[in-house]
Amino acid sequence: MIEGERLTADTGETGRTLHHPSPLFPRTTLIRRVAAALAMALALLATVITIYPLLNILYLVLRQGIPALSGALFTRNTVGGDMGTTNAGLSNAITGSLLIVAVSLVLAAPLGILGGIYLSEFAPPRIAASLRYLANVLSGVPSIVLGYFGYVVMVVWFGWGFSLLAAAITLTIIMLPYILRATELAMEKVPATLREGSLALGADRSATVLRVVLKAATPGVLTGLILAISLAMGETAPLIYTAGWSDYLPTLQAVHSPVGYLTYVIWTFINEPFAAAHALAYAAALFLIAFILILNVGLRTLVERKSVRS
């Protein structure tokens, strides 16, 4: 497997080397040092080309988004924003996004956490392996396919129309594998001694799992939930034909009432020929990026604090 020939090809040479001043070992010739330096330079270049777009995206969204900020964004709806009216806001889209994600979290969290518990604690190894694999496959299904599935099943077949419930159930399918796998991986890391201790004290299996193992795995489970929330918050394709769009605040009706959301503003308003519409799109992108960054940073500090304490 390891190409030993190439490594030892020039061990016949003797002489001083920079790193290993032993005559037994090959001289680090100039050409080999140049190759090493070149490889490092290329790897550095690759890293720079990867980080640069992130900084460029942040710069774009901040530069265009900050001038668009105002209190009216929170108090007014998008009505007329796509026609270039300057007194439009984002309150319907912000409320709608939070509402859709909250409802899908309420659906996905119990399913995902319970499913993760099953995989880690109860499932026979072969079934666990298959479910794990299928969860990975589900997480790889393109979000537009899920969106179309949601559209034909809930919007058309069930007759719910564009609605909060159709959108939330579609997002649930997207969040589910992440919560499930994060829960499972976190519970697997809990040492067996904790389980044995609890069982030895007379606790039954379910009490051990819920009160001891799940408790110890809480940081990992929370991480999965937060990851799923930030993923759901940024989705567009699964919502276009399930949530629809509304210029007004969500009605809290589960069906027959379309809901507005932030990502829709970004992709439609940026195509309008009005500066005011563009400002709303950039403001929406700024809110979205800020929300996701805060979740990520909060997550890392949370995980670090928990792991320091334990």
Binding site: I2, T11, L38, L131, S206, S230, G234
Partner: protein, 343 residues
Amino acid sequence: MNAKSSRETLFRVTSALAASSIVFFLGAILVVLFVFSWPSIIYNGTGFLNGRTWDIGNLYSSRQTVHAGFTAAAGAHFGILVFLVGTLATAALALLMAAPVSLGVAVFLTRFAPPFARSPLSVLVELLAGVPSVVFGLWGWAVIVPWVARSLAPFLSSHFGWIPFFAGSAGTGMGLLSSGLVLAVMVVPIITAISRDAIANTPPSLIEQGRALGTTEWEVIRDIILPHARAGILGGIVLGLGRALGETMAILMVSGNALNYLPQNIYNPVGTIAATIVSQLDSAMTDSTGMAVYALAEMALVLFVITLLVNMAAPLVMRISGGIMTLGEAREMGDAPFREAGS
């Protein structure tokens, strides 16, 4: 049965039901898409996959076309060859750019970067993975498309026109090249995460033995680490391909969404399956025969099957190329996106 064990049975069954929702959803997606595609599968036959014309027909005509028992609007043609080509071409172009870059990043993060910089740099790459695709689309629309139109495309066209598909007019910047660039930026974090794990899994004793022979860091990477991590790297590339094939919003905003037109060079507008489902559903809903909606369901089914095959191939590719890996280990390599959160 005492209360204790019946409570445990209940808990066990509830959690098993929750876990099987994964199977339920996957099965439901497959069955529903197939059922809703059925009229289109029968009506269009194989012309669906190799037809170049997508036209939902004259919705205002009183005449309708009936074929094999199913009705479509007069003059309707449902062929997705153009979108199939667009999907494969954008994904292929993206991977050509993303794979070497990801490998470079993974090597830099694990081997070359000074230890204090490794963790912050990894965080930045992970943050890139967290950027919503519609924001990538916005960035592509505002930054990449104008840059391609003004600088990159004219430069490539005039200096590298001898490479196939590189000659031609730059156009508006919306097209294959911009789509490939934006997609590449989106899949780099995925390939990087999986390759980085694979590289980090190289046994330290092997690396130390290599260094003891007097090799340079690059020789250790080339002769020990990369052969050892080959399986993970290839698997990461395949998973990146799966992601690129299904990407919707970013493509929708930078591809030009071509209909009935095969790209002649890398600057031409393209349409992909995912983006076309979004851009065509509005008009498809107005088709009173329903055939346009069924045809879009068949498009979603085709995309579902393609990505399913690609994602299922990833562990196999890892196993075949890895030699030492069991299928189970290979499957676990695909866990990188989930483990990132858990760590």
